[in-house]
Structures are given as C-alpha cells and as structure tokens.
Symmetry: C2
Amino acid sequence: MQEKKKIPKSVASRLSLYLREISRLEDEGGDKVSSVELGELTGLTDAQVRKDLSYFGQFGTSGSGYEILKLKNILRDLLGKDNIWHIVLIGAGNIGSALLRYPGFKNQGFIIKEAFDIDQKKIGKCYGEVTVKDVRQINDIEKDRSIKIAIITVPVDSAQDVAEEVTRYGIICILNFSPVILKVDEGVTVRNIDLSNELENFSFILTSAKG
Amino acid sequence: MQEKKKIPKSVASRLSLYLREISRLEDEGGDKVSSVELGELTGLTDAQVRKDLSYFGQFGTSGSGYEILKLKNILRDLLGKDNIWHIVLIGAGNIGSALLRYPGFKNQGFIIKEAFDIDQKKIGKCYGEVTVKDVRQINDIEKDRSIKIAIITVPVDSAQDVAEEVTRYGIICILNFSPVILKVDEGVTVRNIDLSNELENFSFILTSAKG
DNA sequence: CACTGTGAACCCGTTCACAGCA
DNA sequence: TGCTGTGAACGGGTTCACAGTG
C-alpha cells in the first residue's frame, strides 16, 4: 500500500539488472512483461521479482503483468540514469588504460574525467579526451566537485593511500581493483573487483571437485 | 570436533582473502596471528574468522592464536595453489587484451593458454606467449583437457553462444564480463564481473543520497 | 483466469556469548 | 588470563502460498 519503503541493498544491486532486461524487451517491441518472464531473463524467481518491484510502489496489473515503459522509467529514475556521472581513475596500467579506452561507460552516462598515474612513462598519454596526469596533482579533483566516483587500479601497496587521498577530495564511491580491503570513512562506499579472488574461487572449486 | 564439514560458498569465497593476508604477515616475519588481528586485516569480525577457520579443522592455540605457516599451508592446499590452472580467453578487445597482458595471473598459477576473437584485426596478435586465434577454431580447446576455466570478454550479444560452446568443450568455470546472465548446464560455475552494474550501483547511491 | 502483492515460513550466514583449554 | 571453538540467538534475504484484483 505505501509508496516507498527503504530499498534494501540487495534489491538495489538488482535494479540495473532489471533495467537492462526491460530495455531489451522494449527494443524488441514488447509492452508488457510478467514477473515470470522477467525472472527467466534475470535468472531470479518470479516471487523475487514481484517482491523487489513492490519495494518501489505497485504498478503491476493483475492478470497481465507490468507495463514495460512505466517500469523502465521508474528504474531509470531510481538509478539516476538521466544524470551524467564524472569519474576519476587512478592507475593507468593494464586494466586502468583498458577502462579509459572502453567506450561503454560513456553511453551509460559515466565519464572518466581525470586520470592519474605515478609512472613518468604513462603520464601525458592521451585516451580519447583524457590525458593521464601526474598523481601528485591529484588534488586537482577537489576543484571539480562533480567527481564523486573513483576507480582505483593501482598496485596493491598504494591502494590504501590513494583511497584516503581521493576521499579527502570529495570522492564517496570507490571501485577498487586492488586485492586489498580498503579502510574508508563512514559514508564512503567501496565495491571491490578482485580478479585473482575470482580465479582462486575457481581453483578452490576445481581442487575440491577432484577431492 | 570433526575434521571437515563441507565448506559453505560464503566461506570459500573468503579463503583467498585469508591466504593473502596470512602471506603478508609471513613476509613481515610474523609467526602467530589471532582471530582479532586477522579480522582487522580482512575487514571481518573476529568471531567470523574463528568460525570460518573452524570449518577446516582446529589448529588454533588457545591463548596465543593461529600458527601462520600452518594456516598458510592449509589455505594453499584448499585453494589448490600448488596447481597451475589453464585458461581460455574469448574476446581480445579492450578488457580481454588487458587481461592477456596482465602479468599478475601467471604468478598466481593462472595461465591464459589460448585466446580467441572473431575480428580479423585482432586475430594473429600476440601477447606474451599467446596468439589470438580465430574463434571458429575454438574447438581446439577440446584437445587440451587441462583447460577448465574460460574468461568471456565478448560483446553482450555473443556471450551466451560462447558460453554454450566452451562448456561443450570441457569448460566448467566461467568468468563472465558481459552484462548478461548466462544460462549454463548444471555443474558449470559462472562468476560475473559487471562493471556497468557496479557503476550503476554508485549512481543509485548518489541519486538517492541527493533524495 | 492469470498475474500481482505480500504476510508467513524458511533458510543461511553472521554475531553473540561463553565453556574449554594452554 | 587470553584466545580458540562452537552452540544458540539473531537478522536479512529468499521462497512459499494464497488472498486480492482487473
């Protein structure tokens, strides 16, 4: 009945998944979707889809499903898809420079606005509209208060230092590729992408399967 | 009391985290560690550390903690760190080629043995010891039964096809970078790394913070 | 009749709290 | 005394099952 309960983290992290599949359906010319269908597309159960969607109001139609356009707009709204988000990237190595070159972000409203590295060989390199600067100038980002997101792709030893620095300069969301748990102030959100961890998980699975 | 209960997924995914911190402690010359210390290093509670470790036998010493060397060996063992794992990578684009160039995997025992792409411009390119082959030859991997892990870094539309193909050829672990839920046979493990999803999560946080 | 919306039941992982041990 | 090992309590998220609705 109530308009909006607080959306739990678990639900929030599925929002973009829903939006993605909804958008695909829209592209294919659909206009309604049931919780069962959406469940199949997202790999979730129908009950979960319904419960998730119920967190932000009820707009399904009994007997026919959800209106795709309506649902899409609500999800876009929640996810702030009409905004453009500015990002700073620190560490223009292998992964870092791949992200700088990656065109997908821009289409999604994410723009890497600044990039830094400590290595003279990398400083000055240009990727699209971004030129890699000396990390000693990182406090430049303080001037640009629109930058709230940092991507950290530096070696593990410097990651904590970098995290502390960028949070001092207004960053409140960090996507961390270094295999280390960052300690950050309250109010800062960190998400980790740990390739080695993922692979070692496989290693564990494969090892115990042999067992 | 019992030697080994089955290790839950949640615990398994922290194993490499423990090993990492334990190894660091060892490098620093430590020889014992308490659950409290290890908890601080890993960002977990001490209770959780103890419970996790208790899943694979008891080897802590009351009053003094865990022997680092012993713990390390057990973790290495569980994670199969003495093995070398072979990997096939499909999609030598931005991210894919960054992974091909990334030296960290090899040190950890993960070797990208084969790489494929559909794009003539990428086929034939050489990264270290790996040369990118035409994806039409992907059934080559069937001969090499040592390859159990695939990294999929292809555009979203081809990801499902690629997944089906590689699982036909003996792959049972997939690290998927495409923003799509892969449908795979029972017994195949998929882990997703979804950059856009992570960023959209930030977008959600930043949007709702503005409230 | 098909499908939504949602309390209730369930499940599983985390945390608590303390007995047991060196 | 300090720290482990672990049952018990807790909590959040998922699933169930069904009443309600167009």
